[in-house]
Amino acid sequence: MMIKEKRQIFIFLLFALVVLLVPIFLKGSYFLNVLVFIGINTLLAVALNLLLGYAGQISLGQAAFFGLGAYISGILTTRFPVDPWLALVVAAGCASVLAFVIGFPILKLKGHYLAMATLGFGIIVYIIFNETVDWTGGPSGLSGIPNLRLGPFVFDNDRNNYYLVWMMTLGVMLLSINLSQSRIGRALRAINDSEVAARVMGVNARMMKVQIFTVSAFVSAIAGSLYAHTITFISPASFGFNFSVELLTMVIIGGLGSIYGSFLGATILTMLPEFLRVFRDFDIVIYGLMLILITMFMPAGLIGGIEMSIKIIAEKIKGSAENNA
């Protein structure tokens, strides 16, 4: 057991080290900019994974919390003289309060009904972004959102934004990994496996689900706020149903319940348009196909696939070594 925990800490430190060193090698490359978006998407995917991978509760309305974070932050800093950091905190707070309130009735629903209810919630929020033109700027968007700053240090270029976003992302990843191996994480996974048995063991399933839904909204809203302050322009189109599905795809492709899987999924989906430049227009077909095939044949996602391949290769090597000896 101790070995397993040590290994996990080692993997995380290695991952964090790579993340921190990457900008040195990518100086001046546009790829750094892509990595900023990968960071934001990883945050979002981890947030959804907490809900979907751990607790087994689907949400097709994640983009709404992302959007709430972005819009609350954007409106507070453009229409009022609010400091961006304060706006970020307020945005995350508001989104979590909303999630907490709607969490009780929504998470009473299961399976398909939960999927549809969260979808409905997402669309309602999207319509509000679109129609409250006086606040959000409506479909034409909200521009001129200020960058975050720490004293004289302004987060207005790729390198600075990279560190800003990835510090947050690494933090959330670490906390999520911690969470998964704690009492709360076990309770959530127990709900995922058998809600009835979990309740009989004294797990307050409803409260637990609402809690993790709230946390998920909180993280998504932070991602939204970071997004708004890095890109400085937001419009409702980024927070629609399609993006919720994209997030779902990230989590499924990467691997349900795996935090690094969420990173992998976010990376692939953020980079896919790059990969597919030769075959443009094919991306939506490929998303669909990936969702189907991975759910059917690789329930553990690509991370599961990688782990399995490593195992098989390791066995092969071991086997051939024994043969040679």
Binding site: L52, G56, I58, P105, I106, K108, L109, K110, G111, H112, Y113, A115, M116, A117, L119, G120, F121, I123, I124, I127, I128, N130, E131, F241, V245, L248, I252, D281, F282, I284, V285, I286, Y287, G288, L289, M290, L291, I292, T295, M296, P299
Partner: protein
């Protein structure tokens, strides 16, 4: 224009949209009741119906009714392929995987349609002319009569099929208890496949009869599918009168909401109703007895 005829117009508009929602809702209910799956790709059948008809018409020089029959056949084929390739091989039948697979299928079908037919919107000629009919100072298109007529026909056919035919009864048996059904010799797999066939056929039919009014393109399926789902939830997951009432109610609320409150929030009304019903009365407004499931 005086107020009463304005109201009549809202009601007519609402009812005709509602009939469409009901028809799409049927497709959901049939698959859900036979398999427990909520097919998120249902809206794509609606899209396929319209698109196939338009492209058959433009490639083959055949009369409209022939094209419609062919289009329904092709859409049904897609439904069969979907069931055989993505639903039946699935071993791990958790609702979550089914949600994801049907979402995946919906994206895939939509994407394929875009690649094959392009992104343009297309119009189908109306079945019987474009001259509006007047009803108490309000108007309605002849195509609306087709929609009402076909909806009624499909309700009746459904009722007859599920109440009197052996196949329909077998499908209902599966819906109650698949295991027990298999014990009395019903091939459950065939019944599941059949539910996809029927539902794809009805979905594409809906897509065809609305195409002359609303036009069609590769991405019409999402919103129509979701509205159909709202109808079926309001009606309580039946493929009978409940869903029809659910659809009509939804259509009416939308049209009256757009007319008297705000058109901008028209869709929001639909979803607020959906959420309220899911929260307060998840079994639907018109659900009668447990025995009326199929």
């Amino acid at each position: 224009m005086d107020n009463p005829s304005q109201l009549v117009q809202y009601i007519l508009t609402g009812l005709s949209n509602g009939a469409i929602y009901a028809l799409i809702g049927f497709g959901f209910a049939i698959i859900h009741n036979a398999t427990g799956i909520l097919n998120f790709a249902q809206g794509e059948f609606v899209m396929l119906g319209g698109m196939f008809t338009i492209f058959i018409l433009s490639f083959l020089n055949i009369p409209l009714p022939m094209a419609i029959v062919l289009a329904i056949a092709f859409s049904t084929l897609v439904g069969i392929l979907f069931e055989r390739l993505a639903i039946r091989p699935l071993k791990n039948v958790k609702p979550l995987s089914l949600v994801i697979i049907t979402i995946g299928a919906s994206i895939f079908i939509r994407g394929a349609a875009m690649l094959i037919w392009g992104k343009d919107t297309h119009a189908l000629p109306a079945f019987s002319g474009n001259e509006p009919l007047y009803v108490y100072g309000a108007t309605i298109m002849p195509q609306h009569l087709w929609i009402f007529g076909i909806t009624i026909l499909i309700i009746i056919a459904n009722k007859l099929f599920f109440s009197y035919s052996i196949l329909g009864k077998a499908m209902r048996a599966c819906a109650y208890n698949a295991y027990a059904a298999s014990l009395v010799g019903i091939d459950v797999k065939i019944m599941v496949l059949l539910s996809f066939v029927v539902s794809a056929a009805i979905g594409s039919m809906a897509g065809i009869i609305i195409a002359p009014l609303t036009m069609t393109s590769y991405d019409v399926g999402i919103m129509l599918g979701i509205k159909g789902f709202c109808a079926v939830i309001i009606g309580g997951m039946s493929s009978g009168l409940g869903t029809v009432l659910g659809g009509l109610l939804l259509g009416l609320l939308e049209s009256l909401g757009a007319g008297y409150i705000s058109a901008s929030y028209k869709d929001a009304f639909a979803f607020i109703i959906l959420l309220l019903i899911l929260f307060i009365r998840p079994e639907g407004l018109f659900k009668q007895k447990e025995t009326q499931r199929v």
